[in-house]
């Protein structure tokens, strides 16, 4: 708004500089939602690289049978930390970054409701990340228990396990503060006329996600705290010898864990619901039904947790209940798919990089959804539980679902955020490389799983060799392709072409229609009126 203030003789550019701090202190003290969004996204990318290197260690060891590179203990630490870092350090912060950047602009608010708390919730993350990484250097190394941290294996771990537990507490605190902020912002700071049912779908998905986070995070905090007291303070929550039940841990963990899956994927649905209409030049089909579908997925996510536990020996009624409830989730999810297709139908489609990633998402997420349906069937899951089929399934959902969407979102909003365009050719190359190598890694893992290769093993029988080789080669290709992404983004920020205020012809949310590119540091200090 500097131009406006300028009319009244105030210092030009005042708004583009901040509170007297510069350099690193600017970033440490910032309470601006755009700065904090940027911080989240860079943190996420850093963690994505760290977790990615761990994945490459795993794939390198699995390139051929036998133990070559790491010992089994370290291999377990790699699988554990890869999972924790990717879920809590890379994917979740990425979408919180999107939320920070976009929600205020999309609802016409000047900032998040609690700007100071927003700063804290970001700055907790580097500490949690550091704790996770420091655990490798503790006696006994990082925990080798898998990201699910099942009891009672956790009791056998060294002090690295405690570091991980503290890290999870901090991450949880950060998520809760972020969620409180998002809920308050979306409920209370919408511009006049911006009714709930006029909000961009991205804001809706985040509102629902924040609710899921608030409902499920205390469960995780409780689970890891009980693990901690079982380890050090003689309690027996999960210790059969002391009257506890190891399976109770699994119930608690997955009661958090399944909503967590939707915490990751719902904001991704929101991003896709912004991008597909923009490049179809056509409004989103079935907006209201999309909102209802999102809400139903969220509600169902609380009654399906035990489909992760078909092999623990539940009674037959339990198996059947969780099977039916789980298959039911396919209904709203399918409705979403159809809505996106109907949005494209008879549109005027173009295929810039964000749209390519969005289509890649539709295609691969469908595969992940279908393998999820197979796994939901308790009888069939008995064959596939804890095999590479599960690994393939959740990477189709997490990588092709969440990560591809994050890429799509970054290409989509980068012009708005930085005022500069990325290189479209390189963006497309990045898409095709990611697409091909991703399938090379994970499609073949379906076959490994069907044939019975267990997950989390550092060495494997000879009949699994070929698929593992292909998967490992794909992994290195995928990893290298992401360096191209880094190059594209840095190049765009430093020397990209100027972007238009409404870079995408079909984009229709407030940040495109009401704000210039790059979006000014303070936007919507007076709310716009939405008609």
């Amino acid at each position: 708004m500097s131009a406006v203030l300028d009319d009244h003789g105030h210092d030009h550019g005042h708004d583009d500089h901040h509170h007297g701090y510069s350099g690193i202190m600017r970033w440490i003290t910032t309470t601006n939602h755009k700065d904090i969004g940027t911080l989240y996204l860079w943190f996420s990318f850093t963690m994505f690289m760290v977790g990615g290197v761990m994945a490459l260690v795993i794939r390198a060891e699995l390139f051929t049978p036998g133990l070559q590179i790491v010992n089994p203990d370290f291999f377990n630490q790699m699988t554990t930390m890869h999972g924790l870092i990717m879920v809590f350090g890379a994917i979740m912060p990425a979408f919180v970054g999107f939320a920070n950047w976009l929600i205020p602009m999309q609802i016409g608010a000047p900032d998040m409701a609690f700007a100071r708390m927003n700063n804290w919730s970001f700055w907790l993350l580097p500490f949690a990340g550091a704790l996770l990484i420091i655990s490798f250097f503790m006696p006994g190394g990082a925990p080798g228990v898998g990201w699910t941290m099942y009891a009672p294996l956790t009791v056998q771990m060294g002090i690295g396990m405690d570091f991980t537990i503290f890290a999870i507490h901090i991450l949880g605190m950060s998520s809760i503060m972020g969620s409180i902020n998002i809920v308050t912002t979306v409920l209370n700071m919408r511009a006049p006329g911006m009714t709930l049912m006029k909000m961009p779908l991205f804001c809706w998905t985040w509102l629902i996600t924040a609710y899921l986070l608030i409902a499920s995070m205390p469960v995780l905090a409780g689970a890891v705290t009980m693990t901690l007291t079982d380890r050090h303070f003689g309690t027996s929550f999960f210790n059969a010898a002391g009257g506890g039940d190891p399976v109770l841990y699994q119930h608690i963990f997955w009661f958090f864990g399944h909503p967590e899956v939707y915490i990751i994927i719902l904001p991704a649905f929101g991003v896709i619901s912004q991008i597909i209409p923009a490049f179809s030049r056509k409004p989103l089909f079935g907006y209201a039904s999309m909102v209802y579908a999102t809400a139903s997925i969220a509600i169902l996510s609380f009654i399906v947790w035990a489909h992760h536990m078909y092999t623990v020996g539940m009674p037959v009624t339990g198996q059947l209940f969780f099977m039916y409830a789980t298959t039911l989730i396919a209904v709203p999810t399918a409705a979403k798919m159809f809505n996106w297709l109907a949005t494209m139908w008879r549109g005027s489609l173009t295929f810039e990089t964000p749209m390519l990633f969005a289509l890649g998402f539709l295609f691969l997420f469908a595969i992940g959804g279908f393998s999820g349906l197979v796994l939901a069937l308790a009888a069939v899951d008995i064959q596939l539980q804890d095999t590479y089929y599960v690994v393939a399934h959740f990477h189709y959902v997490m990588v092709a679902g969440a990560l591809f969407t994050a890429f799509a979102g970054i290409y989509f909003w980068l012009p708005k955020w930085t005022g500069r365009m990325y290189n479209e050719t390189l963006g497309k190359v990045h898409f095709w490389l990611s697409m091909i190598f991703f399938n090379m890694i994970f499609f073949v893992q379906h076959f490994l799983g069907l044939a019975g290769m267990p997950r989390r093993i550092p060495d494997y029988p000879l009949q699994f060799e070929t698929w593992n080789k292909i998967s490992s080669i794909g992994a290195f290709g995928f990893g290298l392709s992401q360096l191209l992404f880094l190059y594209i983004v840095v190049k765009a920020i430093t020397s990209g072409e100027k972007a238009a205020d409404k870079q995408w012809e079909g984009a229709d949310s407030l940040e495109w229609t009401h704000l210039p590119s790059p979006a000014p540091y303070h936007s919507f200090e007076t709310p716009p009126v939405v008609k």
């Binding site: 409920l187 705290t225 929550f237 609380f302 200090e525």
Partner: protein
């Protein structure tokens, strides 16, 4: 940017009334009613505490304190945000009196000025700029729910009307 200026929320400058007097209501922008906020809070608190209580019954009582802390934190956040949801300033010129009614959380204060001797002054500049309604010996900040630029406009508009 011109289009942007035209997007100022009309109701904030809805000078009402006929003849020489006017009435102006300045409100914070709040997109949810206090009752709506209570519903939103009640729903999430009930779910969170219900889940935690169920786990406590199963023996995993340590979920409960975390759920409790969180529900309290959310409550404080909503209260902080909601306490000022109904704040407003009403500036009225009627019967030769300038009345300013300031509602802040649960207190309403009325200030009376002599329109002939009152004027609006601008204090400070840029971010943190304020406008004050002044008459000899008295001063009251107004337009706190507005953006700087809207405050300047309000100052100009009020001065013009007071001078008439």
């Amino acid at each position: 940017m011109k289009g942007w200026i035209q997007e100022l929320p009309r109701q904030e400058f809805a000078f009402q009334g006929r003849g020489p007097g006017f009435s102006l209501l300045l409100k914070r922008n709040c997109s949810i009613s206090p009752a709506g906020l209570m519903w939103a809070y009640g729903a999430i608190a009930a779910v969170t505490l219900g889940v935690a209580a169920a786990f406590a019954v199963l023996g995993a009582w340590m979920v409960l304190p975390f759920a409790g802390i969180e529900v309290v934190a959310l409550g404080i956040a909503f209260a902080m945000n909601g306490r000022h949801a109904a704040d407003y300033e009403r500036i009225q010129l009627a019967g030769g009196r300038l009345l300013v009614e300031v509602c802040e959380s649960d207190s309403v204060r009325r200030h009376e000025f002599n329109p002939a001797r009152a004027s609006v002054m601008v204090a400070g500049a840029g971010h943190g700029m304020r406008i004050m309604l002044e008459s000899p010996g008295r001063s009251l900040e107004i337009g706190r729910h507005l953006h700087e630029r809207a405050r300047l406009e309000l100052a100009g508009e009020l001065n013009r009307r007071l001078r008439n």
